[in-house]
Amino acid sequence: MAKFDENARPFSEKWLDERLGVVTLKKVLSTEYWIPKDINFLWAMGMVLAATFGLLLISGIFLLMYYKPDAALAFDSVNYTIMTEVGYGWLWRHIHGVGASIVFLIIYIHMFTGIYYGSYKKGREMIWISGMLLFVTFSAEAFSGYMLPWGQMSYWAGMVITNLFSGGSLEAYGLVEWIRGDYVPGDAFLTRFFMLHVLLLPLVIIGLIVLHFGTLRLPHVNNQKGEEIDFEEAAELYKAGKKKESKVIPFNPVFLSKDIFVMGVYFILFFYLVFYHFGFAMDPVNFDPADGLKTPPHIYPEWYFLWSYEILRPFNKDLGLIAFGIAQVALFFLPFIDRSPNVAPAHKRGLFNIWFWVLLVDMIVLTILGKLPPEGIYNDLGLVSAIVFLLLGPALFVITKMEKKI
């Protein structure tokens, strides 16, 4: 039996520490979790994402109070009940819609920051892989959520995406019907995607966020120069009061205070969008109720899926599916394709710098083309950009293999 101080006041720090180890926990997770000083605002994106996820969760809880997962009722429960009857229902919906869109913008910034500074390399592979798992789960979460208002875009996006599972010439329509629970997206489809969206996938996301934080604890976050810091030595300096000489700061309260400043700036933008410019996250086509006998003239996904959608488009059915499949999983392997020994920002890594900017520009071009109608010159441009994207993988291997140790 452990020792318990009989005089400790209930719920005092000592009392809690004896029962829960809160002092150790606080040290490990916050006051003695060391963050390098040499970072910039891009290092705040992780906490910005966590906060945005929090907003999505809270707004989602309130939407859940009035949403009806039934093909006959869903559309009106969103567009009539929540939007016009529920007090501040519009607020939750607009936070949820804008949040779902902006969270991907921040995810992409977060990812490209990691790629630019080589934060997926040498001991940080699990950070990258757990982050990619989060990206994929967030994508599934966004897609399943997009089904719920049961408008035209919900229905037809559901139709097109579930059809992908027929595997092209494999013609696995049994699998497609199994996923839908019907020959076409219908009530069974809506209710199962509702389940995924409000329970299963959020559970997975929360678990993955914990894992993602866990993967950071031992290798620590990277810094602007990719410098290998002796964290124990730097921590001793800091604790000895030599804060100026030390290369690190504690996560809480020093790093977090910087994070919260960035979050403050971000939330100004976020709520500006929620109150004045929510339209970008609300496709007008989705304000028509789902109709299985009428395809909208153009079907396109939300902006954050456009780059991978565009990789699907310019090829024939089977090749398109293969290219699409490769695009979905290729980034997972980044830590293993990059053979360079250097952990350094891209601008110090020669050819890798060019590779990085080609990747960024190519994904932006694919995103733009994905929104344009598939005709004429756009088809050719789409084909070229898709091929460039696919070639970037092998190119990275060759480039980093040749890279000299800095």
Binding site: W156, M159, V160, N163, L164, G168, S169, E177, W178, I179, R180, G181, D182, Y183, V184, G186, A188, R192, G292, L293, K294, T295, P296, P297, H298, I299, R313, F315, N316, K317, D318, G320, P373, P374, E375, N379
Partner: protein
């Protein structure tokens, strides 16, 4: 050592039964995702072909899917995939693009179907003539009864097309 053997055996026995139960649970989960019997059973559509006009596309519904019914005009090429009723020829297909399942629009002037999603085109017989569609528009199982057609049932005409590999 003997203790270890005992423990291993217990572990394997527990693992085995757990795996068995897990498999059973997985099967139950798979079955829960299956389409319901009521969904599968609802599924015959009867269409009267006698009222159709030439070069005017009628869209019917079968198992939630749109069905194209187009009475061919004399200048359209006859095809083995046509449904023949007396002297009239009909194009009867599932109105979903064989690429990713959007509904192509019929352009009566050009006498083709064009899909808005990815630009695929089909001729009046449902053959793919442009873009990503890998195969012709699919023919649903049908049975002719005089001038009416029943979808969801395989009649002799359908079986003949199926044997000739013309369905899709």
């Amino acid at each position: 050592m003997k203790e270890q053997g005992r423990r291993d055996f217990m572990g394997m026995a527990l693992g085995g039964f757990t795996a068995l139960g897990g498999l059973g649970a997985l099967y139950a989960m798979k079955r829960s995702w299956d389409p319901l019997p009521s969904v599968k059973a609802a599924g015959f559509t009867t269409i009267d072909l006698s009222a159709a006009q030439e070069n005017v596309l009628n869209i019917e519904k079968w198992r939630g899917k749109p069905i194209f019914v187009l009475k061919k005009s004399a200048d359209m090429k006859a095809d083995d995939r046509d449904v023949v009723v007396g002297s009239d020829r009909f194009h009867v297909t599932i109105g979903l693009c064989t690429h990713l399942g959007c509904i192509p629009a019929y352009l009566p002037g050009e006498k083709i179907f064009r899909c808005a999603c990815h630009g695929g085109e089909f001729d009046a017989s449902g053959h793919e003539i442009f873009g990503p569609p890998p195969s012709p528009l699919e023919i649903p199982p049908f049975k002719l009864e005089g001038t009416t057609i029943v979808l969801g049932e395989e009649g002799p005409e359908f079986k003949k097309m199926k044997d000739a590999g013309l369905i899709a």
